[in-house]
Symmetry: C2
Subunit: 538 residues, 2 copies
């Protein structure tokens, strides 16, 4: 290949324009991959797909097939659970996972409900053991020495407790355990769970939720950090692994091979957590840029050639953390990954002393707009009610300061209308093509306002004691502090829609990680720089 052709290839788009967002449709994505991994599945009896997207004249004909297909997979699932350990389990588990992957979404749902309900625990057996247990008399335990002279009396407790523990395990645990030791099984379990989660968002079925919570616990055990390997991803890694990085990069999409190569080249690092049972596919990966200072805008990070030599860097900036397995949702691998990456970077580059992120604030605009809309409504209904009632709604709050209100009302006349500052602001922020970002005058009014409200959103808005913003919650529970928010840090359409273009720096200091994580998780305390705290505290 000549130089020119190579250059074209390196710059060619790597993801189709209309690629499905993996976070939204894990199922379709996973199904794709499973099918790619088993090219010969098309020639097996399980190959007929029953998705309802097929032309309707085919569906009648396929309904029988779907039913038959479902029964086949159901039978193989039953064998996988009930067969003795040493029979030919491998081929049964293989058939089951192949068969499942080829089922229509509706059949997958049906099958998972069968699993959750018919392979639950044996409640009759549980009750029998409980009765035996209640029949035991507790030996008097005296904390003083010699208290365990009655050691023998405890042995029946140990025995029944052990049996009870075993009996309280649902039958479907067998399937999970067997899949876990089957090649490719752990990956398949992660697909199963991502399906369960997606069905649960449609309908909250308690048996399915119990199945999910059980599977999640098992997966957490198997994916303990002790079993994970930290791997530095480089341009020398197999294409099949690099392909995954491209596919799953969730924060700043990788546009072409050249872009990918730059992210793995001088001035940057990329680390992933690999599990031996899911080879060649990091479960989670983190992208790092080596910088002079903590970056304020995404442009400072996504450079084409390194701005400084590596040995002059003092800051390692985590600019992207992506997990590849929707089925591992709720299992926090990020915390361990970040700690291990920091330790590794310090060892290799002692000149680096600051570890920070440049993170999106995905929930800011959504929160702000709904706040503005609801307050505007409340204000209206309050005014329509007689003021003589003497009590305005306690939920009503003008989130604008008087001078902000005034500035908004005076500047916006030509562009949009509104009865009060909040309505004006709502209309400005929801205008098409983010018009407000094109007017220097509007920007000068909105900048301090949005920055103040964003700081409030990050530092004070909570849900069940946790930060409302999902990314903030992720970093805070990992032990970070909020250092700084940056105006117009991400001017992309997504950035403007999500957070008005604001991005935030979280800082990890190795000596405080555990302390901060502890106080956040136990009391909900959010650590922030004093500058930022001043913005929101009177």
């Amino acid at each position: 290949m000549n130089k020119k052709a190579l250059a074209i290839l390196m710059r060619a788009r790597m993801r189709p324009n209309n690629s499905i967002n993996p976070a939204l449709s894990p199922l379709a994505k996973e199904m794709n991959q499973v099918n790619q991994n088993s090219p010969d599945s098309q020639s097996t009896g399980h190959a007929i797909r029953c998705d309802s997207e097929e032309p309707s004249e085919m569906r009648t004909n396929d309904a029988g097939n779907c039913e038959r297909e479902f029964e086949l997979v159901r039978t193989s699932m039953h064998s996988a659970i009930s067969m003795s350990k040493t029979e030919d389990l491998d081929s049964i588990l293989h058939n089951f996972s192949e068969g499942y992957s080829n089922l229509s979404i509706e059949n997958r749902r049906k099958l998972l409900l069968v699993l959750a309900r018919e392979y639950d625990l044996n409640r009759v057996h549980v009750r029998e053991l409980i009765k035996q247990y209640l029949g035991l008399e507790l030996p008097g335990v005296d904390k003083a020495q010699g208290s365990f002279s009655e050691e023998g009396l405890f042995s029946s407790f140990y025995r029944i407790e052990r049996n009870l523990r075993h009996t309280l395990r649902p039958l479907y645990e067998v399937l999970f355990d067997r899949l876990n030791t089957h090649p490719g099984g752990l990956r398949f379990l992660s697909i199963l769970r991502s399906d369960i989660l997606s069905f649960l968002t449609e309908e909250n079925i308690s048996s399915l939720r119990a199945l999910d919570s059980y599977l999640k616990e098992k997966l957490s055990t198997w994916l303990s950090p002790a079993a994970l390997e930290l791997h530095q991803i480089t341009w020398d890694d197999p294409a099949s692994l690099l392909e995954k990085i491209v596919a799953y990069e969730a924060v700043h999409p990788i546009s072409n091979l050249l872009d990918l190569k730059r992210r793995l080249g001088v001035g940057r690092r990329c680390f992933g957590y690999l599990h031996p049972a899911i080879p060649g596919e990091p479960l989670i990966f983190i992208e790092v840029a080596l910088l002079k200072n903590i970056a304020q805008t995404i442009q400072e990070v996504l450079w084409d050639s390194p701005p400084i030599p590596e040995n002059e860097a003092t800051c390692a900036l985590f600019y992207s953390i992506s997990s590849t397995q929707p089925g591992l949702s709720g299992i926090n691998l990020g915390k361990f990954l970040i700690k291990r990456v920091i330790t590794l970077v310090i060892r290799e580059m002692p000149h680096i002393s600051t570890f920070a992120t440049l993170s999106p604030i995905p929930g800011f605009m959504q929160w702000l707009l709904s706040k503005l809309a609801s307050q505007t409504k409340l204000a209206e209904s309050d005014m329509s009610q007689s003021l003589a009632e003497g009590s305005s709604s306690t939920f009503w709050e003008n989130i604008l300061k008087p001078e902000e209100e005034k500035a908004l009302m005076s500047i916006s006349k030509d562009i949009t209308s509104g009865k009060n500052g909040m309505e004006v602001m709502f209309n400005l922020l929801t205008s098409t093509y983010h018009k407000w970002t094109k007017s220097p005058e509007l920007l000068s009014v909105l900048e301090p306002l949005l920055m103040r409200l964003c700081a409030r959103y990050l530092l004070q808005e909570k849900k069940r004691g946790k930060a409302l913003d999902s990314v903030a919650n992720f970093h805070l529970q990992n032990g970070a502090m909020i250092e700084r928010i940056n105006w117009m840090a991400d001017r992309s359409d997504k950035g403007l829609s999500q957070s008005g273009g604001i991005m935030v720096n979280y800082v990890y200091s190795l000596e405080h990680i555990d302390e901060f994580a502890y106080s956040y998780l136990s009391t909900g305390d959010i650590h922030a720089s004093s500058d930022l705290r001043c913005t929101v505290e009177p």
Copy 2:
């Protein structure tokens, strides 16, 4: 280094003559290793060792130290269990494992009892939950469709069952879980368990047994084959790993570097299972020789230069399987290892079609001698009783055939005495320096006799439905069959003492592994070649 010096080094003994048998004294061994791994432990406050082997005049002085030391470790154990997840656990776990490793054996025992008893489960809480549970009414479950319209009713079951599952977990699980995610923790847990096992052999304490059974279950989960990596061990591996092979080779000790190099060189293979949390130390390893035919004697395997080119080999002979962690006793990693090794060898060397072992029969002589001794005694007591009673003991059995009895009585006159064949045989076999092996006449009588009894021992002698011989049980549960027994296959002192020099070939055929393992585990069926079956069946 010149050639001669190198040659001397390569031939130097690698293990001291009086090296401790790892199988007998895991504790001492592990303690050694832990201390080697932390050279600075001698300078810490925990360095005083309280073993009773110290001169007695020092002991009085040290008693206080021991007590103080114990309390320190007990406190760090308490912190490791009770501290919140995100506090500085790493250093606490480090202190605990360091401290534990420096405790005297008696203090270790005390500490483990504290753990087993004071960090057990909360029985009061269990009873409360049980009462709530019994208060729930089971919705009528009807197998027909629509039976789960009462889905909502189950949610309280799911909730309490989940709580009950959690409450039935002993508090010490926290310590195990935390150690598992702590660097070096899994290795430390394996040391803990090997200590527990060694204390249990001294005294059967039910709380300690419950602790052991719980830890064993946890370890099995963490060491699932999915988390293990198959690694071919070669001369290019780090010396620190190869050193482990030398230290743990349990079947045929490795005498010097040259011996080790040969075992990893042409005509041989060595594979190990590595766990990411115990780097550089295979949990179990297997040594393979590539041969023309299934070897009959150990000499055919322990050659200095390959007898045939590798591409002429048709048999892969597993001549040694050693596990390195006494703390993983009862967790069968061998089965998965053997299956994976077979698959790998077939892929790399399709000319190899036979997979067999040349294995010791460690329990044969012990069984035979105790059989001979007890039968001799029974015979005596029977004769001393009045024969008029009409019933000789039903346990009495002459394990010799009439012609064997005759041959033994006639040939042995000059060498040893005995009232009957069995007594003669007992005396012959227990003679010092295995004198019987030096007389061609005795050998000609004993060979068919010992071979027949050995086949009987392997094929028919059982304990709780399993083969009495531990190595036989290992291979049979892994799905092997007994192919052949070989006379004078191991003339070493150990070989003669254990099994009269007889060794056995087990054969693994990939297509039967699962079937044979299944029938052995479920019905106790032992598969054997027809030749061998003929020896024992009338």
